[in-house]
Every structure is written in structure tokens, then in C-alpha cells.
Amino acid sequence: MKHPQLLFKNRIPGETVFFDGYRKSGGYEGLEKTIKSMSPAEVTELVKASGLCGRGGAGFPTGTKWSFFPSDQPGPKYLVCNCDEMEPGTYKDGVLLRTDPHQLIEGMIITAYALQTPEAYVFIRYAYEDCAQNLERAVAEAKEAGYLGKDILGSGFSCEIHVHRSAGRYICGEETALLSGLEGRRPNPRLKPPFPAVRGLFDRPTTVNNVETLANIQHIVTGGADWFKSLALTEEGAGTKLFGLSGHLEKTECFELPLGVTLDEIVNEHGGGVRGGKKFKACLPGGASTPYLAANHLDVPLDFTAITRAGSRLGTAGVTVFDEETCMVAVTLNLIRFFARESCGWCTPCRDGLPYVAWLLEQFEQGEATEEHLENLRGQFRNIAGRSFCALAEGAMGPVEGLFNCFEEELVDHIKKGRCPFK
């Protein structure tokens, strides 16, 4: 099925649209409209009404987040765009910036206006060097055209956007760790409260938003809140979503689809079905930190709310599919090793607990697991999730939770057979 395209409306595979192309397709009209006819508070209200939820993984309502921001507080304030994107299975922000980078720049300028932040940063991983260069060019072009810099379109509002290449690790994507990193410190997460809106970058009020979140803003400004809401297929959803497909599918590409699209449509239509005609076994619906969905979940509509009823989360909507021949214990082990390696080392449950969970899963894979290991694994889930300093460890437990929800018998099978049944 063909769906309306906003973020990908200019998409030509292998090419990047810059200023001229972007302008031709209506680019910067949202900014002009904002600057000429809207107050900062009105922008925030509009975004609130649109129902836009953060695309960085947590799905927090963007307008609500902005409404906590002290935009009239004097002194420096910051907007930061999170383009760390290191979660396995997640690559949509990269695609967006390779396709149409001006969308982010325009979205950031409007957001900076709404929040009244004269300074904005894009925190981007060094591995996305091409995207960083695209952004730098877009920033230069926007400045040249008077959409960015001092006194934008004669409004008196000024804004600078800095592109910051980070050394980039998974933890850098956690917003407070990102701020530490941006300050030049070790990217350890920080205590909340105080939230970044109160004490963020350089201890000043800061809002952190994801690339895709910000890229949606001018579409909301031009199309209106009701239109944006109506783009989703479900009542609860709002707007479209970039779904990054990966794993055992015929087509592993990034698609822009309405929120609320079913898993079945994603797998069998857009993904071209499971690779080699095999059967669908499971998927990570929203990146590596979300609990698995299994074959009985194919009819679940993927929006932020509906998916939680199926016991998972939409996360970043990076859908990684596993076919029937995949050992889910092995998949989980692989993921846990990633999280254990990426733990910042700050808090005990994550730093020391994740390697232990990995060790337990190894016992299963090596055929040395016993009932005791199974109960230990179940116990660890309780001892780590909700006990850690930041959400990394919580996310790491997503696949483990999924394993118990959908594939506990596979664990038992490993014990019974004394080996990995898939090997």
C-alpha cells in the first residue's frame, strides 16, 4: 500500500536534496509562517495539539516536553539535536540526513524559536561523517539565505546551529550523557531531577530532541495539528514514522509509514516477506532495547500506545526480523553482550549485572545451563530492570523480558537437550 510521505517526500535513493530542491518542495515555508505569524508559545501549543511523540525511543509527547522549558528565562539556553543513533537495528536518522538534511535544520530553527534558544547543537556520531557534512552544508545554505544566523527574516530572533561530531558510543545517546559529552566530559548520565529543561548543557536550560522529531516540526506548522494527527492509522497515533527494516527480510530498507501500520504489513509488504520464503519467528519492533514480538503479534498496529498492550515498545521503530531458524537465546546473548559492552560503568546493576546476564545466557548456549540458571536469569531481570541509574540497563532487559514472554520454552529446551537446539 502507498502511504503519504512527508519526511521522505523528496527522497531519491542515492541522492541528497539540498537547498534548491528543498525550497522547491516547499521548504522553509514553515519557518516563514512561524516567524511571521506565530508567537513562540503558539508553536509549542500547536506541537502539543499535533500529538507528536519523541522519535528518539522514549516516545514522550514533544509539545509537553517543550512546555516545561523556561523559554523566557534570561541567559543562555540550548536546543540539542540527538543524532547519536547507535542502537543496533536503528538507522533511520542517518537515512533522513542523507536524504533531505534541510528538514532538520528548518525544524531546529522553528524549535529554537519556540523555545527561544539562541544556540543549538547537533550531536552527531563520527561514523555519520557524510551526514555531518550534509548538515554543515545545509547550515551554510540556510545562513546564506537568511533563514539562520542573526535576526532571522528580520524577526529579531537569532539562532546559531553548531554541528558537533562526537566520539559516539551507545550511552552518548542517552540525553544527559549526551550533554556531559557535549561539554567535553566523560559521557556519564546525570541525575534527574534536575531535568535538562532546568539544568542542562553547561548547567543551563536545555531541550534534547531526536532528529526525526525535529524534522517533523515544519510539516506540523504547514499542515496543521489535525492533519498531522490524521496521518496515523490509529486513534492514538499521530503522524508518520520512519521504520528501519533489518534482519531476515527480503528488503531491508527504511520506509516512511503511518503510525499504526500493522507488523504484518511491514514484514510482508514493505519488507517483501521473510528472506528465502522462511517463516517469521519474531522481531525487535523498535530497536535492540524493545521486547520481542512473535508471530502471534503480526496484527498488532505499531503506534506508541497499541504496541505496549502487546508487551513491547515502539522505541525507535527499527524493526529487526528473525526467521524460524533463529535461536532467540543466541539473539538475546548477542544483544546483551552489546549492552554490557556499552554500559558506561557508573552503576552496579548495569556494569556488573549485565556481564553476569551475558554469562548466564552463555551457559544456555554452551549447553551447561540448569534449572538454577533459568531462575537466576529470571531473577536478574527483576534485579536490574528498574534498579539502574539510567535507562540503558532497563532497555538491555527488554530482550530478556521478551525472551521470557515469548520464548521461555526455548530456554527450557536448551537445558533439556544440553545444547543449543539450533546448532
Binding site: R186, N188, E342, C344, W346, C347, P349, R351, W359
Partner: protein, 826 residues
């Protein structure tokens, strides 16, 4: 205030409290590992998790979560028990568990918690860490195999010490604490990280295998080094001070110490201590009995008094009670020639402050500085003279965003703080800069002049100190002078700090007067919470001033006594607790005086170069053997308690004075320090009403938290002329040492074993000088040789050398000038 319920107990606490603090107040114990009262909230170890009814579904870290109204907290349940136990199991997975040989055993938080939560077996197996230990330096051993990554060492070194030795490196399971480039520790060695580490990962090396904690007797006393007056808790075993224990419960220092307080105690245990009296016979000092020695001293003084007189010069590390007895001894001898600390350096207080503000001490207390929004520190080495006060300034700047201005002739650690600005002037021109700041306030009309005496005269004299003019002479930009003055005047609460001591004998009074003028004109004197601090170099510098161990009536001051003795017009010198040959300016003059005085008595712990020249040497006791009081630089009278007895026949100065007075026929019949204190409190107004035995753990601040200025008189004071010369030598104090006594302490000596001359990197490059090169320095017709040290804090053309070391003979070069032109060659 906030009301909440913890374990069914209803309690009311301050709204800034965390759950942990609230529980503690209610007498409910929650285990913690990474929490520390004096550090910012952290929340990493997760042993302090509790349940909160309003936040169901998660466990809440009690150490970081603020209380809210109506909160219902449960601190123990099956779930909590399980999670805590798991956290401990996790921590133990790769911990070496070498408790039998770990010095922390018996007071290790991990050991205690493991015991409490009965972590008998570990369900988890893992590789034990096998990291090499860092034992490159002599003072602090780091064994990261025992580390629980609580981050306290990292945080204290950054947040409080302001040094930043440590950081976390690596990720995940590989995470560990490391220094820059993971090399051996090389820092200030203040030992704050040692005191904060909850396990045996950072330990004091001098204490290794010395004692188990329960074998140790703890004795609270006061550090004998500087005027900061830090509380130190001695760990005593076998009549030796084995270590200094961590104690953040009492005192002004919040458990913080500098290297001298933490590792400098060992001079008390030194094998070089004098253990018997010595009498010079045929040019040799030979052992004698106390009776013989005292007889000789009494005889000698009696004879000298009848001849050209006796002079008494004391140090400022004696207790108040001892200084009081010394005054009695002076009376018994019949001399008014009584002085201390070289007689010059403290004049900023006894003359400068007296003439302007009518007070004889700092007007505020240290903790008040934490709330100051503008701080003016005169001399960059404030941090080096009073390091723990320096840490208070750190916190004012880093936590409370105070603005810090430093008027100094070299850059220092203060200057590296955020919001800090150094008004870097040419040597010896402090007064010029302070005058210019005063002038700036007068020029822009913001000077406070209500009720100020002497204004017209001051204005006249300040006309020569327009910021622009002073800028040209001192090298400090006029704009900077004006901005600093403006900030100071605009402060809600300001603090002006000035350290004084033996290495700064020149312009003592002038700088203090200029600072006091500025304090008056900027409103510092009038505003509540704003104060002027003059901090003495020695533990009881303030006490010596309070007790009036200064010349009175027709009495001679220290320098006059030395001149007189050198000229043969003083018959005897009694030098108590002072190594004049090493530490007083103009060594030649001191030596001549010792030679010229017919009879010299030295009372000391060591056979110092001064004592070597004496006719009788009396072996005295260290602070660790004394009972009495010190008064610190914020007027806090604190109790000194004896932890050990003196070696051999050494006696406390108290005991010696008493015996000597008896020999002199002036029987002193005090029953002990309490009685002496009562007698002195009767004579010294400020101490009236203070009772020795009622002096508690926080001491008694005489005059109250804020000492009201009795007068507000501005006094014209002349600046100095810049020193001419290709190189100018500054002397001063090194962070690691204090006076000369620290050169007998293993800790400070391990880090800075000998004198050095410091070059800025620019000069070092031009002169092709590298660390360790021998350098000849010539001035005033003398030459000394010192090892070079290259640093970044000195401006071009300025060299610095610390004054503590006897062999270096630095005081052969300077005669009391603030700075001198020197010739420098390799």
C-alpha cells in the same frame, strides 16, 4: 519543612533533605556506599534503594531522591533485601577479597555490608581482577582490584580539592578509576581520596601493616602546621602516631586535610628528635640532666639580665597556655624583650588592622566564605599556605558560583577555577594594585564613605594610584582593576583574604592597610557575612597575637634583638620553637646575633642550625604530646590533646617553662593547662568567659562569628617601586611544607625533599633550563645553588624558591625584601 513517613515513623525534615538523610535523622539506617555528605548527589552503587509508596514499581535510590510531602517510605522488605544482596554479589564477583592483608579490614564498608547481608556464597562466578597496584609514590597506594567504583575519589579530588587527579576510564565491565594516561599518581597528596574510599582501594602507604583499626586509639587534636586549624584525629598505637584518621564529624575542616595535616604528623615520631638536654662544653654540645641544664639556663639568664639583657624569641606553634607561661618566664627574667615569628610578618594584624578597623584578627569564620559571592584573594599562594581554606574557596566558586579575584605576583591553583581572574602584577606591588582598586571605587563614586574617617587624606594619596597609572607600573590592565573593584563593591557578601607569615616579612603592615582600606570602601566591613581574613602561617599565630607575645613598653622586637645581639649589646637569647637560622630573612644577621649574644638557649624538637649554635639546648615536645589550646586564623580556640608521651626526656614547653620559672625563683603554681587558661582568660579580654574544659569539638570562636570593626579609618599607604633586574626572586611557602618543621616529616619530604628554584616555562626555554638542573643564584653578595623546577605559573623574569630548607640557605640572599633582583646562571 516536609512531613513524611519512614518505616511507619512520622518525621519532619528540611525540604532539601534526601530520603537517606531524613531516615538518618530519624535514626533509621540505610546502607550506602557511594553516598558522601560533602559530595554532590551521585546514586551509582544502588545499595541504598528503598520503596516509596508514591513511586511504585521501581526501587528508589534514597541517597539522591529528595523528600516530598506525604511520602511513605519503606527501607526494608524482602524485595529490597534481595536487591541489596544482589548488588553486593555483583560487587564481589570480581573483587579480590583479600581482607586478611587489606589495611581496610575491620572498617571496610564492603566487608561490613557483606557481613550484614550475609552474602555467604556468590551465585555469580566471574574473573577476579588482576590489575597492577600503583605504588609509585611513597604516600598513597592504589589497588584497583578492590575498587567498587563508587567514584568518591574522583569526586572529592575534583569537587573539593580542585585538583582532578582521577577519572573513570573504559566502559562496562572494564570500567576503572585511573589517573591521566593511567600513570602513577602524582598530585598534591592531600589524601582526601584516601579518606573517602569506602574500601581498601586507596590506602595510606606509611600506615601499611601498622595496625588493625580496632588496635588503634583515636585522639582528636588540632593540626600543628598552619593557621587553618584543622581537626586531626591521631591513630595511636605503641606510643606512636601511626596515622591520621578520617574524621568529618568535628572541626572546621569537614574531614579535609592537606598533605601536611594528613601525612606530616610523622615528625613527632622522628628518630632525629632531641631526647635529652644538651650543654655546650669545650665547643661541643653534650648530654646533660634536666637539673644541670635548667640550672645553667637560670644562671645564664640571671647573669645576662644583670648585664645587657635577655631577649626572647618564640615560634607560633606553642599553645596559648605555653605562650602565657613564657610571658611569666620573661617576667621572672625581668625582660620586656619578647617577640615571635621574626617580629615583622604579623604587623598587618597588630598594626595594620588595629589602625584601620580597630581589631586584631580576621573578622569572619571560614564557613562564611562558602556563601560569599565575590572573593578577593591577595597572593596566589593562599592555597599553598592554607590549603583547606583553599578548598572552602573552591567550593564557593565551583558550587556557589562565587567570583574570585586574585591579586598575585604568580599564577596559582586558584586562578584555574572557573570564574577566577588573576590580577597578575610585577613582584612586590600588591599595595599598588589594592590602592588602584580603592581609587577605582572613589573615581566611579561607588565607594562607601559613610562614617569613614581619614577619607580626605586617603583621597589625596590615592590620586597617585589611578588604575591607568598603576596598570603601567604593575602590568595589571586598568580594566581588570576596575572590574575587580566594581565586583567587590557590588557583592552581597564578599571575602578578602590575605595570608601572612615568615616568608612574607616585607610590607606586612602596608598590604594589610591597603586591604582594610579596600574592605571599608567596598562595603565589606559593613555588610553582614562579608569579612576580611588575615591568616597566619602557623598553628597558633593568632594565639601569639592574642596573648601579646610581642614587644611591650621598652621591649625590643625580634629584629632589634638580633641587631643588638649582633652588635654585642644583648647578653642572651632564648629561642623557643623557632629555627631562625633557616627561616628568618638575612641568615648572616641571625648567625651574627647568635654568635654575638654571650649566652644562647634553644628549645626545640630538633638540633636545628639554630640549636647547634646554642649554649644550652632543651628538648621540647611536639603537638602530639601536648594538652592545651591553639587559636586559628578565624579566632577559633581549639583543644589540643596529647596522644603520645614524649621520647626520652623531652618535655613539653609548658613543663619546661614551669621548671625554669621555679629555678628563677618565680614559682608558677598552676595545676595544669585548664588553670593556666583560666589565668590567661582573665588577662586577655577576648578570651574572657571562655572555659578550657567547656571548649567543645567545634572550638570557641572568640568575638563571635563576626567581629565588629571598632573603627572605620582609611589610612594612606604607599605602594612600592618595581624591582629592577633581569630576574626577580620571590620566596614563599610550598604547598607541601610549613615553616621548617615539615622538613622533618616523612610525608612532605617524600614529595618535596629539598629546596628548588622554580622557573616559568618561557624563561626555562630561553635559559635552556630543565627540571633538576643545578642553578646558581646570586644576590646581595651571596650565592646559593638550587635545583631547577620548571612550571607554568611564573611570569617571565620571575623565579620562585620556597624558604623551608636549612641546607639551601635561601635567606643568605634576601634580607627581608618582598622580592629581590638576582643573577641566575647554570
Amino acid at each position: 519543612m516536609v512531613n513524611l513517613t519512614i518505616d511507619g515513623k512520622e518525621i519532619t525534615v528540611s525540604k532539601t533533605a534526601t530520603i537517606y538523610e531524613a531516615a538518618k535523622e530519624a535514626g533509621i539506617d540505610i546502607p550506602v556506599l557511594c553516598y558522601a555528605k560533602k559530595l554532590l548527589p551521585y546514586g551509582a552503587c544502588r545499595v541504598c534503594l528503598v520503596e516509596v509508596e508514591q513511586m511504585k514499581g521501581r526501587l528508589i535510590p534514597s541517597c539522591t531522591t529528595p523528600v516530598t510531602e506525604g511520602m511513605v517510605v519503606t527501607t526494608m522488605s524482602d524485595e529490597i533485601q534481595k536487591v541489596r544482596k544482589t548488588v553486593l554479589e555483583f560487587l564481589l564477583v570480581n573483587h579480590v577479597i583479600d581482607c586478611p592483608v587489606c589495611d581496610k579490614g575491620g572498617e571496610c564498608d564492603l566487608q561490613d555490608l557483606t557481613y550484614e547481608y550475609e552474602v555467604v556464597t556468590n551465585r555469580f562466578e566471574g574473573e577476579k581482577f588482576d590489575l597492577p597496584t600503583d605504588e609509585v609514590n611513597p604516600l598513597i597506594e592504589r589497588n584497583m582490584n578492590r575498587c567498587v567504583l563508587c567514584g568518591k575519589c574522583v569526586r572529592v579530588c575534583d569537587e573539593i580539592v580542585g585538583y582532578g587527579s582521577y577519572s573513570f576510564i573504559n566502559r562496562g565491565f572494564e570500567t576503572k578509576i585511573a589517573t591521566a594516561f593511567d600513570r602513577g599518581l602524582n598530585c598534591e597528596f592531600c589524601g582526601q581520596c584516601v579518606s573517602m574510599c569506602p574500601v581498601g582501594a586507596i590506602l595510606p602507604r606509611p600506615f601499611k601493616f601498622k595496625a588493625r583499626p580496632w588496635q588503634i586509639k583515636e585522639v582528636d587534636s588540632v593540626c600543628s602546621y598552619c593557621g587553618n586549624g584543622c581537626t586531626i584525629t591521631m591513630g595511636v598505637k605503641d606510643n606512636k602516631v601511626q596515622t591520621i584518621r578520617f574524621n568529618d564529624k568535628i572541626g572546621v575542616n569537614d574531614g579535609n586535610l592537606c598533605i601536611r595535616g594528613r601525612f606530616g604528623y610523622s615528625y613527632a615520631n622522628s628518630d632525629d628528635r632531641l631526647t635529652t638536654p644538651l650543654i655546650k662544653k669545650d665547643g661541643e654540645l653534650v648530654e646533660a640532666s634536666w637539673d644541670e641544664a635548667l640550672e645553667a639556663v637560670a644562671e645564664g639568664f640571671k647573669k645576662a639580665a644583670a648585664d645587657k639583657g635577655v631577649g626572647i624569641i618564640s615560634g607560633a606553634r606553642l599553645t596559648n597556655e605555653e605562650l602565657f607561661l613564657l610571658k611569666n618566664v620573661a617576667k621572672a627574667i625581668g625582660t620586656e624583650n619578647l617577640d615571635h615569628s621574626g617580629g615583622e610578618c604579623y604587623k598587618g594584624v597588630t598594626e595594620g588592622l588595629v589602625e584601620t578597623l580597630g581589631v586584631k584578627a580576621s573578622t569572619g569564620t571560614f564557613p562564611q566564605v562558602e556563601d560569599a559571592d565575590v572573593i578577593l584573594s591577595i597572593r596566589s599562594d593562599f592555597y599553598e599556605t592554607h590549603p583547606v581554606f583553599g578548598m572552602v574557596v573552591n567550593q564557593a566558586v565551583k558550587r556557589n558560583e562565587a567570583q574570585l579575584f586574585i591579586v598575585a605576583d604568580k599564577k596559582g591553583k586558584f586562578g584555574k577555577l572557573p570564574n577566577a581572574e588573576t590580577l597578575l602584577h610585577k613582584p612586590a606591588l600588591e599595595v599598588n594594585v589594592l590602592n588602584a582598586m580603592a581609587q577605582a571605587l572613589i573615581e566611579d563614586g561607588s565607594a562607601v564613605t559613610d562614617g569613614v574617617d581619614g577619607l580626605d587624606e586617603l583621597k589625596k594619596s590615592l590620586a597617585d594610584y589611578a588604575p591607568e597609572k598603576v596598570a603601567a607600573a604593575t602590568g595589571v590592565p586598568a580594566e581588570q582593576i576596575k572590574a575587580a573593584a566594581k565586583a567587590l563593591a557590588g557583592a552581597n557578601k564578599s571575602a578578602i583574604l590575605l595570608a601572612y607569615g615568615l616568608p612574607y616579612t616585607a610590607q606586612s603592615k602596608e598590604i594589610a592597610v591597603a586591604a582594610a582600606n579596600l574592605a571599608i570602601l567596598s562595603g565589606n566591613v559593613d555588610k553582614e557575612g562579608s569579612n576580611l581574613y588575615l591568616c597566619g602561617e602557623k598553628a597558633n599565630s593568632q594565639g601569639a597575637i592574642d596573648l601579646g607575645v610581642i614587644p611591650a613598653g621598652s621591649g625590643q622586637g625580634a629584629q632589634q634583638m638580633l641587631d643588638a645581639a649582633a652588635a654585642g649589646s644583648l647578653s642572651a637569647l632564648y629561642v623557643v620553637g623557632e629555627d631562625m637560622v633557616t627561616s628568618y630573612p638575612d641568615r648572616e644577621k641571625v648567625e651574627k646575633a647568635l654568635d654575638g649574644a654571650g649566652f644562647v638557649v634553644a628549645q626545640d624538637l630538633f638540633l636545628s642550625p639554630t640549636a647547634q649554635k646554642a649554649d644550652v639546648v632543651l628538648p621540647a615536645a611536639s603537638f602530639a604530646e601536648k594538652d592545651g589550646t591553639f587559636t586559628n586564623a578565624e579566632r577559633r580556640i581549639q583543644r589540643v590533646h596529647p596522644g603520645i608521651t614524649s621520647p626520652g626526656e623531652a618535655k613539653t614547653d609548658y613543663a619546661i617553662f614551669e621548671l625554669l620559672a621555679n629555678k628563677l625563683g618565680a614559682g608558677l603554681s598552676y595545676t595544669g593547662p585548664a588553670a593556666v587558661f583560666a589565668a590567661l582568660a582573665n588577662e586577655v579580654d577576648a578570651y574572657k568567659g571562655v572555659e578550657f574544659n567547656a571548649i567543645g569539638a567545634q572550638g570557641v570562636v572568640w568575638g563571635g562569628e563576626e567581629l565588629k570593626a571598632a573603627t572605620k579609618k582609611v589610612v594612606p599607604v604607599k605602594g612600592a617601586a618595581a624591582v629592577d633586574g633581569k630576574f626577580v626572586l620571590l620566596t614563599g611557602s610550598a604547598l607541601y611544607h610549613s615553616g621548617t618543621v615539615s622538613t622533618h616529616a616523612k610525608g612532605p619530604v617524600a614529595v618535596v625533599p629539598e629546596a628548588y628554584v622554580e622557573f616559568g616555562s618561557e624563561d626555562a626555554t630561553v635559559l635552556q633550563v630543565a627540571d633538576g638542573d643545578m642553578i646558581k643564584i646570586k644576590a646581595n653578595g651571596a650565592e646559593v645553588q638550587l635545583k631547577a623546577k620548571v612550571d607554568k605559573r611564573l611570569p617571565q623574569g620571575v623565579v620562585f624558591a620556597p624558604y623551608h630548607f636549612a641546607e639551601a640557605g635561601l635567606n643568605k640572599l634576601y634580607k627581608g625584601e618582598a622580592a629581590i633582583a638576582v643573577e641566575v646562571s647554570k
